[in-house]
């Protein structure tokens, strides 16, 4: 069955080559006049400088963690140097891939904005779309294929050299999610602090419009769009894909399922990648207006979905024969893909201006800013409801399908495998979804460039129309990323419990016994578990609070700097002298990098410490609490933020003239909501995705150490090892 991993590898490499050609085509396009080149260069430099410094800041922490991962494996595998080595390799490759996904995405998009603006000038909307969409597709293909290549290479090599290849793979998921957490948090703080800071002094105090080149923060603001929306989203979705693939392979390894079941993730993900490449070809040719552009984009999504379903169906019959297992795997995979489409539509309903929620918020803005906040928050809460229902339904029904139809050695395993197949199906859509998402930031930046380079108004019209579509796809992709994170986390959660129980039990226990013990020890009636669940809630709340306050702290630093420049550089407001853009970028970079380490490390240290000191059952509770609180909260924050943003735009675009349009009191009230929504939707909300996965992956990686500590510390405490009050006191002091 190794052949399927090889086929995946080849498809992945093929996709990379396709992506490379597309990138070359994009970069060959006319980058516009000198002014555009200059500004575009400033943004690209700022973004590169930020990512560079960020990666350098992360490096020592990453190296230390790599050493700890190695140590954990050295102990867990009784001094095996091979496992230690493989674990470190996996961790490094996972993290590297995540960093790479972010970097490639940024590289292409920062260079495509000027080319999109210039094409908009020559060929209008269609020209702009063809370039920005190609740029987005580079990111989508690169990200999915990097993930597939890394996992298939590791799989091919590891299965050849060790029986514990499942455990050896897992650190890749930890590396990817850790890197993604850092990128999300740091990028999220950077982008929103730059945005807030520039707006507060620019719009409010100096009275100059957004994207005005006289504002010293304007380049930082544009850099932020790239490091937040592009690099952040790329590493986030890359990571979910890695997590769900390693997670399912890990389950396959520890459950000791037959080979044809093992390689299913390769079938699902490479089918989807191939189909995504096909779907992308439908966004070509002349485009008359925004609605036709949206139609083409949707067409590409549906073509890719149907094609994937067909390929998975054919492949599954080839793998499992015409059996009930094949039927269950196919349906589960399709259920996962349908989840993606459902979540995209739900999110669109709650964040797009053609539907009731955004309109209601806009109308409430005629009353007061408080009404805007409360109404938006209320819709944000409501928006999580259908997504949770869809995910709960898919979870339950894919398990039930597997339980009844898949033929593994125990029905429990079969059920879990059904759910895993649905998760892989959902995540396999990453390539096409990210493609849809990424043209948004490109056209957003193109609009900004057009403004800064003072291009004729028709350019801005085309790029703005694209930006409006991009805003919707951006919001909906966030919904997709969150739902993916939720399901991926659940698969890994089960993997963790299994792994730790296997290590607590005597060596050589059968998978069925392990599963049975796992079920009986993790009751929600156990006070250990309940306590852990509360600690999970603590983690989510603390992390959310901290990331929110970091944004305002960093923004205040930028405000000081912009005020200083306005004050000390004469003629800056008259446009006679240039502001010092790079100083502003530097300040935001420095503070964002100061702020991101603490919440990031909290996510790594808390689970390990809780597991070591309070036992693995408490840790299981903590993971559950993190998923249960983090998942709905991410939806709430992303969607209320998106809705506030679009309510403001709805008033600005004057779709409802009675609201008064730009500059009216209603508009001012809507701006309050928009600004509140910024850190909600671009910092804290999206950072919760990697948070719930880091908590999971770090637990699996340290499962051996946690099991050993459990055995050492608590052998005499019976079922409930919490009675050690010193431990409790320690936890409280720590948190």
């Amino acid at each position: 069955m190794l052949v399927l991993a090889f086929i995946s590898l080849i498809i992945g490499i093929g996709a990379i080559i396709y992506g490379g050609f597309t990138a070359r085509w994009v970069l060959k396009q006319d980058p516009g006049n000198d002014k555009m080149k200059e500004i575009s260069g400033l943004i690209a430099d700022g973004a590169r400088a930020f990512l560079g410094r960020e990666y350098r800041t992360i490096f020592p922490v990453g190296a230390l963690l790599a050493a700890l991962v190695g140590l954990a494996y050295y102990i867990g595998f009784h001094g095996s140097f091979l496992m230690t080595f493989l674990a470190i390799i996996s961790f490094a490759l996972g993290a590297l891939g995540s960093g790479l996904a972010g970097y490639i995405g940024m590289y292409v998009t920062t260079r495509s904005a000027s080319r999109t603006a210039s094409a908009a000038g020559r060929n209008g909307l269609g020209g702009a779309l063809s370039i920005s969409y190609r740029a987005g597709s580079v990111m989508g293909t690169m990200l999915a294929s990097t993930a597939i290549i890394i996992i298939s290479i590791l799989f091919i090599i590891y299965t050849a050299i060790t029986a514990f290849w499942g455990e050896a793979l897992i650190p890749a998921a930890f590396g990817a999610s850790l890197m993604s957490l850092f990128i999300r948090v740091a990028g999220g703080i950077f982008t929103k602090a730059a945005d807030w800071g520039s707006d507060i002094v620019g719009k409010v105090e100096a009275g100059i419009p957004e994207d005005d080149p006289r504002n010293p923060g304007v380049i930082a603001d544009n850099v932020g769009d790239n490091v937040g929306d592009v690099a952040g989203m790329a590493s986030d979705v890359y990571e979910s894909l890695i997590v769900v693939m390693t997670g399912m392979l890990f389950l396959a390894a520890v459950f000791r399922v037959p080979d044809n079941f093992t390689v299913f993730p390769f079938l699902a993900s490479s089918s989807a990648l191939l189909s995504a490449l096909a779907g992308m070809q439908f966004v070509r040719g002349k485009v008359k207006g925004a609605s036709e552009a949206l139609k083409k984009l949707n067409l590409s999504l549906y073509v890719a979905t149907i094609l994937t379903a067909a390929l998975v169906a054919i492949g599954s019959v080839a793998l499992f024969g015409p059996s009930s297992s094949a039927i269950a795997m196919i349906i589960s995979d399709i259920l996962g893909m349908l989840t993606a489409i459902a979540v995209l539509h739900i999110t669109e309903y709650y964040t797009h201006y053609t539907h009731l929620p955004v309109k209601s918020i806009a109308r409430q803005s005629t009353v007061s800013a408080s009404n805007v906040i409360v109404t938006g928050y209320s819709y944000g809460l409501a928006s999580a409801v259908p997504v949770l229902l869809v995910v709960a339904t898919v979870l339950g029904s894919s398990f039930a399908l597997g339980y009844r139809l898949i033929n593994l050695s125990s029905p429990l395993m079969s059920g879990i495998y059904g759910t895993a197949a649905a998760s892989v199906g959902l995540l396999s859509m990453a390539g096409i979804v990210i493609t849809l998402d990424s043209f948004g930031p490109v056209s957003d930046n193109a609009s900004g460039l057009a403004e800064m380079a003072e291009l004729p108004p028709n350019v801005r019209e085309s790029t703005d129309a694209l930006d409006a579509i991009g805003n919707t796809t951006k919001a909906t992709t966030k919904g997709y990323a969150i739902a993916s994170a939720g399901l991926a986390a659940l698969v890994l959660f089960i993997g963790f419990v299994y792994e730790v129980v296997e290590r607590v039990l005597p060596p050589g226990s059968s998978p069925s016994l392990i599963l049975y013990t796992a079920f009986t020890r993790t009751s929600v009636m156990s006070p250990d578990l309940l306590m852990g669940a509360f600690l999970g809630a603590v983690l989510v709340y603390l992390f959310s609070s901290r990331t929110l306050s970091s944004v305002s702290k960093t923004a205040m630093e930028l405000v000081q700097e912009i005020r200083r420049q306005f004050h000390e550089i004469p003629g800056i407001l008259e446009g006679k002298s240039k502001p010092d853009y790079s100083k502003a970028v530097d300040i935001v970079t420095r503070h964002a990098l100061n702020e991101f380490m603490l919440p990031g490390l909290l996510a790594v240290i808390a689970p390990v410490l809780i597991g070591l000191l309070l036992g693995w059952v408490t840790l299981v509770g903590m993971i559950l609490g993190t998923i249960l609180l983090g998942f709905p909260r991410a939806l709430l924050m992303a969607n209320s933020g998106g809705a506030w943003d679009n309510a403001k735009k709805y008033i600005e675009a004057n779709y409802e003239p009675s609201l008064g349009g730009k500059g009216s009191d209603a508009h001012k009230n809507a701006v309050v909501g928009d600004v509140v929504g910024d850190p909600f939707k671009d910092t804290t909300g999206p950072s919760l995705n990697p948070l719930i996965k880091v908590v999971n992956t770090v637990s699996v990686v340290f499962a051996a150490a946690i099991a050993i500590s459990d055995i050492l510390l608590h052998t005499q405490a019976g079922l409930f090892p919490i009675s050690n009050f010193i431990h409790l006191a320690f936890v409280i002091l720590f948190a």
Copy 2:
């Protein structure tokens, strides 16, 4: 051991008599001049009219539910008319007591405001404190003693006539929590809609100050303070006390513990009530300033706590002899009381203006309204963290104590019993805490009256100083109420699982077997349970969203009415003609009562339906999800709301003159936060307490029916009965 129940009954009756005398003393005081009497009469009438209509609206629903409760018991106890009858009696008494607690509280406080204002005119702060504190103590004593009397009478009678007295008691908890949910939601919508509506037209559009008699909404606003802050809080805490007492008695009955363990809740609650009466005596005599007043209030709390601890210690030794059980019960009870004090202090830190959070929010208001919102929200999230840690610690350590030291037939039971003792300890403080809370609304109303009746400024100074203390105690009591709800819900949660498992197992199974099965069937790895946990999240989000939007909807109706009156009644703004206050009250009443039924019924119907259709394990997950998401969310919403409120007051009081004081831009920004916080802290936040308990209590009441449906529907489905897709589709359509 029945003697202890009798002693409780006598203490309860004694306390009621004491409360009656205190009430008579308060009502004998001078109610002030004619204008004050008139306004005070209008408020009292409005409040009575609201409660009256509310109770009439609830009555048919309550009657229907009483019939369903009876039916559930008729089926569950195989046609026993006695059990059917007892269940209905319990349900009715529980609900009646809750309604009564709300009504008595309102009756006294609405009548005490004018007396407090008049005493403030004669004797300054001290005079005002002595009346408002006595009025508050009436509510505190009445509420605690009503709960104790009802439970002890039911206990004495039921234990004499049926072996299933534990099951017969439980509907009292359901009745109380259901009534409290209705009162919280309806009162919360009323109070904040009246507040918003009056402010939007009054302050913003017409430019008249708060509490100005020219505003047609002013009486509705004051009525709202009483139906929300007083009746709502009274029924909420009364209900938690009932729930935790019935919950622990229920556990005692189903665990078949010895009698001395059974009667412990009576010891704890009557000791605390007696001690509260003693503590109250320390708030007497002359008071020079606000800080001395606060000192006396705190003294009363500490005296009551220490005295309770001493009484419980003596009583426990008498009950259990000098044994390890006695030690564990005493320490657990004290841990519960310490939790109360810890939560009061934590909440004070996050909501009082002398500490960093409120100051930071006030300072951010110089930047923008958005900064106020984000900073307040971030502190709200942070405020939940220490409370969750305290509760998790108490949960874990009281269980561990019980597990090691209490001698019941199984260590699991002993552990659970330890946690139950801590919960009872926490709730036993209700009397003294509510006393501390209730003088706040009285002095708040006295301030309003002084404004409306145009009393001399020195009156307002005294009542305002009291109101400022009252604002803090009001916020801290909310924290107490939430923490109590969390622990009470956990006790009941375990009771539910036990009850339903007992009914799923063959009759006559031993308690140990039942407990063992309960543990093995409720694993967090079960997809049923995970799905249920997501459904619990759905419930909390849907309920929160719905209650928030109800407030703004109702407020808009009041806005229309006030605008109409300003328009159609000539001379109203010049003070020449009187506004039609009662019309405004009527409109808010009508709409609040339209809006409260849906979220209330959702909380009752969802668990029963989920339990019947998707099985009891899914329901266990749902209850867990509701507690896990509802508890932190209640803290977030109550505390961010309190902090925003006090940040605004901090600026108004001009504690930091650089912020600009009343009327400055900073003040305007702070007002945005204050108004957002209103429905957060007074509608949705406090309604989440009864929500998590209704979900619990309704499940216990319908446990038999759910168990039967489980056996009928799912006998062939093995461990996981979720495969019925029709059920899933049904649930989705329903939600």
